[in-house]
């Protein structure tokens, strides 16, 4: 599978990454190399195996329904790059 400039642009868009035009061809080459490397898995017959869900082989542990957190906005907002009162602030979202 060879990655094109367009695929790089699409992956960058999906991942919300601004990629400079000048870097796109280089990235296409690098990503192609990685995909080329991982595609050796195609040779392995996995028809009789289930995907591994967890190496610990356990099932979900659950917690009791109780309020154990909250009412500490300073712990939540302490690192906010921009805030107004107890809200996070971001550039205006146009819906």
């Amino acid at each position: 599978m060879s990655i094109t400039r367009e695929t790089v642009e699409q992956a960058a868009r999906l991942a919300r990454l601004t990629v400079a035009d000048a870097d796109k061809d280089r990235l296409a080459g690098e990503l192609s190399a990685i995909l080329g490397f991982v595609e050796q898995l195609d040779a392995i017959d996995t028809s009789d195996v289930d995907p591994l869900t967890s190496v610990v082989g356990a099932t979900a542990r659950m917690r009791k329904d109780a309020v154990t957190a909250g009412d500490e906005p300073e712990r939540i907002l302490a690192n906010a790059p921009d805030r107004v009162t107890d809200f996070y602030a971001v550039p205006k979202v146009v819906e």
């Binding site: 868009r13 999906l14 919300r16 869900t53 967890s54 610990v56 356990a58 099932t59 979900a60 542990r61 659950m62 917690r63 009791k64 329904d65 109780a66 309020v67 154990t68 957190a69 909250g70 009412d71 906005p73 712990r75 939540i76 907002l77 921009d82 107004v84 009162t85 107890d86 809200f87 996070y88 602030a89 971001v90 550039p91 205006k92 979202v93 819906e95």
Partner: protein
């Protein structure tokens, strides 16, 4: 009796599937210990994991699992003992993790069904595809600042059940009946408060149209987050008509997401500049697969409350109510319970009439609801008893009811205070009647010839007893004596 649209080229059928998001009733969030209470100050109901701080991990709330299973049982669905939480990846300001934890490949509840009751008395069974558990997003506020949006994560991570119907609904009436019934069932179960104004239940409505007789599905649109039963109906009616006009004009329906604007009664495209979403679902590696025991499910099943359909059947059988009356009374669990408290050991039909007639009317007029009714079930039961036992007449009862509603006093107290008790004592009525007969021999003769004139005696007896004689007893005695 499906609704259709008469177009210029023929008749069109409307095909609807609904994805209802219902907020799970629980104290804390699906994966965090933050409270689910509505209306807190911004970012106060937020745990570290809700804000997706680095290194924070989700831990599943067992109550949310229980509630999802109970909801599944309530729609007679298959419960999947094995289910998996997946990540749905997309970026949005009120989605701190950059993904929503949901269930795509292995939902907790599989296929079920629900019976809707239509206004013409018919009912239809609607298939349900699945219920899965997922996280709610936060809230973005756009109107507080000209340049910035504000983000509040209080809702972030609250548990939702996404209840996905099959494309079995055929018009706005059915869709709103479906939403109403689903809401009723969830409220009976206590798994969702059904509070649509607060967003506890909202629907994504998938609409397509096709010529009547066609079996192929047309291209559908999805109208997102419609939050009232009325809006669901309006959105569907608008959207179906729009699609018919498009198709008949030679156009094509574009598969897209739309928004309903209640102020205009229209849906409009949420044309995003982005290409189609690619959510890159994969099993959340922070959460192990959920494995339930059959015994756990069985215990919940045996503990399920009576649901509206069963209750309606029982009301018809036990109280001899009509299907319609029973349906009205069971729609809300509180109403059914109230009615039963009034009816128990009393005249059930009378009770149904008074609950649905006078009481609902008065509550409506006072813009209040049953929960705040000034007349308790017990108290209304007292009134029913007074009527049944002949203590007061039906006409007097209406006045008593009005006083009860105004003062909150019991029927007995009002009847006593205002001296409204009927005289049903035959002896007292007979002696009054005898006096009148003795004093009016001429009238007696006329009445014996023309029975229509007996009415004059009734009037005289009522006058003599201050209007409190039981009319049935008066009539009986007059008939005996003036035969």
């Amino acid at each position: 009796m499906a609704q259709t649209i008469k177009g210029q080229t023929g008749e069109w059928e409307i095909v609807i599937g609904m994805e209802v998001h219902a907020q799970v009733l629980s104290e804390s969030k699906l994966f965090s210990g933050a409270s689910t209470t509505f209306g807190k100050a911004p970012n106060h109901n937020v745990a570290l994991v809700d804000a997706a701080l680095p290194g924070m991990l989700p831990v599943l709330n067992e109550e949310c699992v229980r509630q999802a299973v109970r909801s599944g049982l309530g729609i007679k669905a298959e419960i999947n003992l094995y289910s998996v939480f997946d990540r749905k990846n997309y970026f949005y300001a009120d989605l701190p993790q950059g993904y929503q934890i949901s269930q795509l490949y292995h939902p907790i509840v599989g296929e079920g069904e629900l019976t809707i009751d239509l206004e013409d008395g018919e009912s239809r069974t609607i298939g349900i595809e699945r219920i899965h558990l997922e996280q709610d997003a936060g809230k973005s506020i756009h109107d507080q600042d000209p340049h910035r949006s504000f983000i509040d994560l209080n809702r972030t991570g609250v548990a939702l059940m996404e209840i996905v119907s099959k494309p079995d609904l055929r018009g706005g009436d059915e869709a709103s009946a479906y939403m109403t019934k689903l809401r009723s069932i969830l409220r009976y179960l206590g798994t969702c408060d059904g509070n649509m104004e607060q967003g506890s239940m909202r629907a994504d409505v998938n609409v397509s149209v096709r010529p009547v007789g066609s079996t192929e599905l047309g291209t559908r649109t999805e109208t997102k987050n419609v939050n009232s039963v009325r809006f669901i109906r309006q959105a569907i009616e608008f959207e179906a008509r729009r699609q018919v006009e498009l198709l008949e004009g030679g156009g094509a329906v574009v598969q897209e997401t739309r928004l309903y604007d209640p102020s205009k009664g229209e849906t409009r495209s949420m044309r995003s500049k982005e290409e189609a979403h690619d959510y890159r679902y994969f099993p959340d590696p922070d959460l192990l697969p959920l494995q339930l025991e059959q015994g756990f499910v069985d215990a919940l099943a045996s503990d399920l409350p009576e649901l509206p359909d069963e209750k309606r059947a029982r009301f018809q059988a036990e109280y001899g109510l009509s299907a319609y009356d029973a349906g009205v009374l069971v729609a809300e669990k509180e109403t059914g319970d109230f009615f039963e408290a009034v009816a128990k050991g009393r005249d059930a039909k009378l009770a149904a009439n008074w609950v649905m007639g006078e009481l609902f009317g008065a509550l409506n007029k006072a813009s209040t609801d049953l929960a705040d009714s000034p007349i308790s079930a017990d108290s209304l039961g007292g009134l029913i008893e007074a009527i049944s036992e002949g203590t007061i007449s039906g006409r007097t009862a209406k006045d008593v009811f009005a006083s009860m509603f105004e003062t909150g006093k019991s029927a007995v107290a009002i009847i006593d205070e205002q001296g409204l008790k009927q005289i049903s004592d035959e002896g007292a009525i007979e002696s009054a009647l005898d006096e009148i007969i003795a004093a009016n021999p001429a009238q007696v003769e006329k009445a014996k010839e023309n029975p229509k004139l007996k009415g004059w005696f009734v009037g005289q007896v009522m006058k003599a007893t201050g209007g409190q004689a039981n009319p049935a007893v008066v009539n009986k005695l007059i008939n005996q004596k003036l035969g």
